[in-house]
């Protein structure tokens, strides 16, 4: 099989098959587990044939395009490092699958668990097999997401969810930093492909963005690998089921960080910043976590802190930045994965059997489960760095690297001393794990009586412990080949000479190991006063701190939002006006403006009078706005003056429209005013009135000034076309009307659509609305008894046909003279409204069509239909036709299809006016509401 194909296939299978356990669950939990095993085995089966090539030093590459323009490609890479990690991921994955089958005995959602496990495994494989760095980020964040789901597997427990959220916040947040770092890295190199990136180390370190990029990438690394000060999520994550811990927190997830250190080592390392940042963080983490691990009462917590400490160790090794330290780092990755996975599983067995993880209660288990105990003791030995176990080997290499590191020439003792201290602590907490759990008297008050777990639950631990021994005793034979290719892949250069052996003679590292062992045991012996001392220290619970920080953030957000947005519409409006004024002012003042003031018209007396009237009326509205009826009267005056202004400046159509709209608006406002309070209360907030007045004044001055400049600036317009084309092209001499129904008929279609919706809105909003009808007016008078004043009722009857006649007249002449469908519609509407006013809603409604929406539709259909008709003839929508018809006697009759369009406008307007006003009027008809 084509190796590149296999490479892709591994991930495709892993990802696409991850829902399989969920689907198989219905056939029983065994099937779910089997499906998981099968998927993992399939991946392994695809991987194994590739091993020989990789062991020969080949780097396998496979690439498919995904988002090429943006540097994201589905390119994969299998080299020594990737292979080593893949084997760890799949191998330990299989063991965890088996283990979880027993551990999660009695849980319902094994299928979900396995699916998430597979999803996680796929993401992890993706991380280690990515050739494209952006792809790596994709999988990286996917591990965060899937681990979030895995940690919160016990989703109904608050602790689990909190732990998952903390993990997500830290690792996901770090992932964002990594994302940014990778984007910069790709920018520096010009490619996101690792092959290019790894070859560009010099270029990268020389780039101006190197430091910031490195810090961003390291943020990703440190958060994922739980380095101080981001370590706190990992102990929290122990709320996850133990198989998850065994997998994520020993071999995989947390290793993604150090994997990336190794992966990018050739590209990023080799600078002082790298050395100080990476080794410093690693050293601090190593020591601090080891110190904390020693004080845990929860043995899983102990393991968690030990994990952090070991990750610190590995980080430190990469930070030391010598070829051998890198080898040691890679080696310790493997060793730690093996012994820590087995330890977590063993711890899980104890937890499973005892029902608690508190070492103050869990004692002397050796006699209850000797085999498990033995396995755990061996693994813990490895963790402590006991000879003949794998942990010893890498720790020896670590000790060796600390001795005589080039950076500390003056204080060369410092680093070895530090390493030894860390070794002492490691031995101390390992001792504690062994002694406190398996010896140290008898169990205290355990929920159940512990015994050996099922045979196959222990099997994974056995396999792993066997490997500890195997590697520890026969390193050259067992681990060296893979270590060589992995380390080679990390360094991207020939490996330094090193020799894996149990015995290197009585050298400094060995002395350090001995010191660590002795010191560690000594420390454990003195534990009681130390615990007593530690217990007196204030404890900080990361989860509480996190949750409090989150709550504080939420509170801050709420306070800020409440401060910004108090729900006051007036504030929104004030902000809007202020924003527009500021922006407009900026745009205006930031441009040269030398408006040549061309005053073309001199003011005459009549216009001055009109302006004076307008001012008085405007003053009237503002000063009387709290007396609402009076304000309406003044508003009406302003409407009249505006109409007169339109007349004055040659806009008869506008004047007509303005006048009729004014009438309808007043009726509308009065209908509403019946229910609204007749007066507004006085405002006491003076600063606010001042603010509003200032805003209003600025707006007025602004628009007024803009109007003046506009009016006095000459301009070029396209309107000559309309004047020239109205008669020949549009068949009408009222150019405004021709524009409305022809040149820009589409606008008008939209406009009547808006109107039609207002009609529908009346039904939609006012339907079944219940409003309290006042029984007296604002000054306390009861309403007059007579519902329909006689003269009004009687005179509106002859007026109706007369007004209809006027509206027909205005409608028909609109294309050539002022008028048209809209005004005609309003006139008809008002004529009909008059019937409501005069004789009441009962009288009028009974005589008018009931299904007004149908008329709306008819109107819209007229306007749209005549437009569509032209489409059928092959012309664009709304193309009009017009012509002259010469009839005997009648003479020349002008016909324009635009008239049908206008008819549509007419129908819509009439229907809408009736719908709105009648629906408003109906509000009072609801019997019983009117008290």
């Amino acid at each position: 099989m084509d190796p590149t194909f296999s490479l892709i296939a591994i991930l495709v299978i892993a990802l696409t098959a991850s829902p399989l356990p969920l689907l198989m669950q219905r056939f029983g939990r065994g099937h779910a587990a089997l499906a998981t095993v099968l998927v993992m085995s399939a991946c392994l089966a695809l991987l194994l044939p590739l091993v020989p090539a990789v062991m020969n030093g080949t780097t396998l590459l496979a690439s498919f395009s995904w988002l090429p323009d943006w540097g994201l490609a589905l390119s994969f890479r299998l080299d020594g490092l990737g292979l080593m990690f893949s084997l760890l991921i799949l191998g330990i994955g299989l063991l965890v699958t088996l283990y979880a089958y027993y551990y999660l005995d009695g849980h319902d959602h094994l299928g979900r668990f396995y699916t998430l496990l597979l999803l996680f495994m796929s993401s992890m494989l993706g991380v280690v097999l990515s050739e494209n760095l952006l792809l790596l980020v994709v999988f990286w964040e996917l591990t965060s997401l899937s681990s979030f789901l895995l940690i919160s597997y016990k989703r109904e427990s608050y602790e689990s969810r909190l732990a998952a959220r903390i993990a997500l916040a830290v690792t996901g947040g770090g992932g964002l930093a990594l994302f940014a770092g990778v984007l910069l890295l790709g920018h520096i190199v010009g490619s996101f492909e690792l092959t290019q990136v790894l070859a560009a180390g010099e270029q990268i370190r020389a780039h101006a963005l190197y430091e910031i990029m490195l810090i961003l990438v390291l943020l990703g690394v440190f958060t994922k690998s739980a380095q101080f000060p981001f370590h706190f999520w990992l102990p929290q994550a122990m709320a996850a089921p133990t198989p998850v811990s065994a997998y994520l927190h020993s071999a995989t997830m947390v290793k993604a960080g150090v994997f990336l250190l190794a992966r990018l080592y050739p590209a990023l390392a080799g600078s002082d910043l790298w050395f100080w940042l990476v080794s410093g963080t690693g050293a601090l983490t190593l020591l601090y976590a080891a110190y904390l691990a020693f004080y845990r009462y929860d043995f899983k917590g102990l393991l968690a802190y030990s994990t952090i400490s070991h990750l610190g160790l590995i980080t430190l090794l990469f930070g030391l930045d010598t070829p051998l330290s890198v080898v040691a780092g890679v080696f310790h990755i493997i060793n730690h994965a093996i012994f820590k996975a087995s330890l977590f599983m063993a711890a899980g067995i104890v937890d499973h059997e005892c029902g608690t993880r508190d070492m103050r209660r869990v004692n002397g288990l050796f006699k209850f489960m000797p085999i498990t105990a033995t396995l755990a003791i061996v693994a813990a030995g490895s963790m402590a760095g006991v000879p003949l176990l794998n942990g010893f080997l890498s720790k020896e290499m670590f000790f060796a690297e600390t001795v005589g590191h080039p950076v500390f020439d003056e204080m060369s003792w410092l680093l070895p001393a530090f390493a030894t201290l860390a070794g002492i602590l490691a031995v101390a907490y390992s001792s504690r794990f062994i002694h406190d759990v398996f010896f140290n008297g008898d169990p205290v008050n355990l929920p159940r009586k512990p015994h050996e777990p099922p045979r196959w639950m222990r099997a994974p631990v056995e396999v792993l412990v066997a490997m500890c021994l195997l590697v520890g005793i026969f390193p050259q034979w067992s681990i060296a080949p893979i270590l060589n290719v992995a380390a080679g892949a990390v360094l991207q250069q020939p490996l330094p000479a090193f020799h894996l052996a149990i015995w290197h003679g009585f050298n400094a590292p060995f002395m350090m190991s001995l010191l660590a062992l002795a010191g560690g045991i000594g420390l454990y012996v003195m534990r009681k006063p130390l615990y007593a001392f530690y217990d007196r220290l204030p404890t900080i619970h990361a989860s509480i701190v996190f949750e409090r920080a989150y709550e504080n953030l939420v509170t801050f957000a709420r306070t800020l939002l409440a401060g910004l947005d108090n729900g006051s519409l007036q504030r929104y409006l004030a902000l809007f006006f202020a924003f527009v004024l500021a922006l407009g002012g900026w745009a205006w003042w930031s441009a040269p403006s030398a408006a040549p003031a061309v005053v073309t018209q001199t003011a005459d007396a009549a216009s001055l009078v009109a302006l004076g009237m307008l001012m008085l009326a405007a003053f009237g509205v503002v000063s009387q706005h709290r007396k609402r009826l009076t304000a309406i009267v003044f508003t009406s005056v302003i409407g009249l003056i505006v109409a007169l202004i339109f007349v004055r400046f040659s806009a008869p159509d506008l004047a007509l429209t303005q006048l009729v709209v004014e009438v309808v608006s007043i009726v509308l406002l009065l209908l509403a005013l019946y229910y609204l309070p007749p007066t507004s209360p006085a405002e006491e907030d003076l600063p606010r009135i001042v603010r509003d007045a200032l805003l209003a004044l600025t707006a007025g001055v602004g628009l007024g000034a803009a109007s003046y400049v506009l009016l006095t600036t000459p301009f070029e317009t396209i309107s000559g076309f309309y004047l020239a084309q109205a008669v020949p092209g549009g068949g009408g001499s009222n150019v405004v009307n021709v524009i409305l129904v022809d040149f820009r008929g589409f606008d008008t279609l939209g406009e009547i659509t808006v109107l039609a919706m207002v009609g529908l809105a009346a039904h939609a909003l006012l339907d079944q609305l219940i409003l309290k009808a006042p029984t007296h007016d604002s000054e306390g008078r009861h309403w007059a008894r007579e519902r329909h004043p006689l003269f009004l009722e009687m005179l509106m009857r002859p007026l109706l046909p007369l007004a209809l006649m006027v509206s027909i007249y205005i409608f028909l002449r609109g294309h050539n003279l002022p008028g048209g469908g809209f005004v005609a519609g309003l006139v008809t509407g008002v004529a009909l409204i008059l019937q409501y006013l005069a004789s009441g809603i009962g009288f009028a409604s009974a005589r008018l069509p009931q299904r007004l929406p149908l008329f709306l539709a008819a109107g819209l259909a007229c306007a749209g239909g005549i437009g569509a008709a032209s489409s059928l003839l092959g012309f664009p929508f709304l193309t009009t036709a017009h012509g002259h018809l010469t009839l005997p006697l009648l003479g020349d009759i002008e016909l324009a299809s635009a008239l049908i369009f206008d008819l549509g406008v007419y129908l819509v307007v009439v229907s809408v006016v009736l719908m709105v006003l009648a629906d408003l009027g109906k509000l009072s008809v609801h019997e019983g509401v009117k008290s």
Partner: protein, 509 residues
């Protein structure tokens, strides 16, 4: 028929609305059938339009057979076609959802829904600024009524703010248009662009007109400090309405992008109009939205803030008028629209099952709807920009495209930090909603979602995955759309045709 392709996305819903009005008496099934057939046809027409726009140049449709700049033209470039298709898909999903019963909670839902589509599609298609105003109004009025659909005090209150602010916005739009016409003597965008290029020194009015136009769009796009209406309005709207509303902020954003790219040419008097103020405000919008998401008490509120966050994110992009930035923005726009719409629907379905707890972030009963949780997860992950979903790719493109903007540090920080905040908010509250159990509410209300609503949610959620899976063709399309957008001369030539040189203008004092 091909020549009419451009108008079909407007005419189909228009005709459907008329039919529905005429068929009022025939019951809800008829209404639904007409509506669903119309949205389906709309999707087909939009797809066709995308195909046409992608194969040819700018499609120009002269309404009434009056050429631009005299008549109104629809101008369909790749961007317009894409937005039309997005609207069509969104409306199809929203209508499917609404047809499961929401449509009966008030009157005239169906015709208003179709007219809302008319407004949206018209706004995306038109090449005339005043016509844009008209379609804005169509869109807004439909949205006003749809927002109130179903009743309730929250809706009325939020609606009032929404309506009044938008009315103020409409007034401003008219002022801007009056000023623009009074300065440049034309209303056609292409013609405006042409005139802006040849403006003499005295161009303060033109600048003022253009900035006011931008302010109007910024209101629709909910730029801080004009954004406060959005969370209230969107959270108050019924789920399918809110889902459809998601596209409305995009109308503002696309309008800004378009005006910026076509009319604010580098050499024109308006070239610097977006500089200096838009970026900080857009970034502040993103941060505010992220904080809002943290503070949100319900999923629908949170989703509304997500809409705002994506609006803020998109509003960064017009500041940097490069094809690459726009290409990234358009991809991001697609995914953010679908995802937010999906979350609105999910919120409603969750609320329905939780009864009085609604979609409040409080512990409640087990929902017995893993698919709902899955849909939420998918949409939420995409919304916060987690890979491998489309949201991540969108963010990747945006960050890459804006890397050389000169403001990359601030932009990157804000986008990534906001992403983190959103992740925290969704992580915490999603857990509460779907996982946390309350002893007081042991049992969820068993409401079957029904096939319509299930399909609707699927339709809206799946793009989170599909847009990522088929990222290349989609991104290529947005790249082509962006490239076309940033070639204003081609657009201008297409729209003005032969009139370009010979537009008769008369000088008026």
């Amino acid at each position: 028929m091909t020549q009419h392709a451009a108008i079909l996305p407007i005419l189909i819903p228009f005709a459907a609305a008329l039919l529905q009005l005429a068929a009022k008496g025939y019951g809800i099934t008829t209404q639904r059938s007409i509506g669903l057939v119309a949205v389906l046809l709309g999707v087909c027409a939009a797809t066709w339009l995308v195909w046409l726009a992608d194969t040819g140049g700018v499609l120009v449709y002269a309404l009434g057979n009056w050429a631009a700049p005299f008549g109104i033209v629809l101008a369909v470039d790749r961007l317009a076609a894409m937005m039309v298709l997005l609207t069509a898909l969104l409306s199809a999903a929203a209508l499917l959802y609404a047809s499961a019963g929401f449509d009966q909670r008030g009157r005239h839902f169906h015709p208003l829904f179709q007219l809302q589509i008319v407004g949206l599609q018209g706004a995306f298609l038109t090449g005339d600024l005043f016509n844009l105003f008209v379609f804005f109004e169509v869109m807004l009025l439909a949205s006003y009524v749809l927002l109130a659909h179903g009743g309730g005090m929250a809706r009325t209150r939020a609606g009032l703010a929404y309506v009044v602010l938008n009315l103020a916005g409409s007034a401003l739009f008219l002022i801007a248009l009056g000023m623009l016409y009074g300065t440049l003597g034309t209303l056609n965008l292409a013609d405006v662009a042409l005139r802006l290029q040849t403006l003499d020194d005295n161009h303060a009015l033109a600048r003022l007109a253009c900035i006011l136009l931008i302010a109007v769009f910024a209101l629709k796009a909910a730029l801080l400090p004009l954004s406060f209406w959005l969370p209230h309005a969107y959270a108050a709207a019924g789920a399918p309405v809110a889902a459809l509303f998601v596209i409305m902020t995009k109308v503002g954003i696309v309008s800004i992008m378009r005006v910026q790219a076509i009319a604010f040419a580098p050499a024109s008097a308006t070239a610097d109009l977006l500089d200096g103020w838009l970026l900080p405000l857009a970034l502040a919008t993103v941060l505010l939205a992220a904080l809002g998401a943290l503070a949100a008490p319900r999923l629908r509120d949170l989703t509304a803030w997500l809409v705002l966050a994506s609006a803020g994110t998109l509003l960064i992009t017009p500041v940097f008028p490069q094809a690459q930035v726009s290409a990234a923005a358009l991809y991001y726009l697609l995914q953010s629209t679908f995802v937010a719409a999906a979350l609105f629907l999910v919120a409603a379905l969750v609320a329905e099952r939780r009864g009085e707890l609604s979609d409040l972030f409080q512990s409640g009963p087990r929902l017995h709807a893993p698919w709902l949780g899955f849909a939420f997860l998918l949409a939420a992950a995409s919304a916060v920009g987690l890979p491998p979903f489309a949201g991540f790719l969108g963010k990747l493109m945006l960050l890459s495209a804006l890397r050389d903007s000169g403001q990359a540090t601030a932009i990157w920080f804000v986008l990534l930090f906001a992403g983190l905040l959103l992740m925290l908010a969704l992580g915490k509250n999603g857990g509460r909603l779907f996982w946390e159990r309350s002893p007081h509410h042991p049992h969820a209300i068993a409401v079957p979602a029904g096939w319509r609503r299930a399909i609707a949610v699927t339709l809206l959620v799946s793009p989170a995955l599909l847009l990522a899976l088929f990222a290349r063709p989609v991104a290529d399309y947005t790249a082509r759309a962006a490239a076309q957008l940033h070639q204003p001369q081609a657009y201008i030539s297409a729209v003005l045709g032969e009139n370009r040189a010979t537009v008769q203008r008369e000088v008026r004092p």
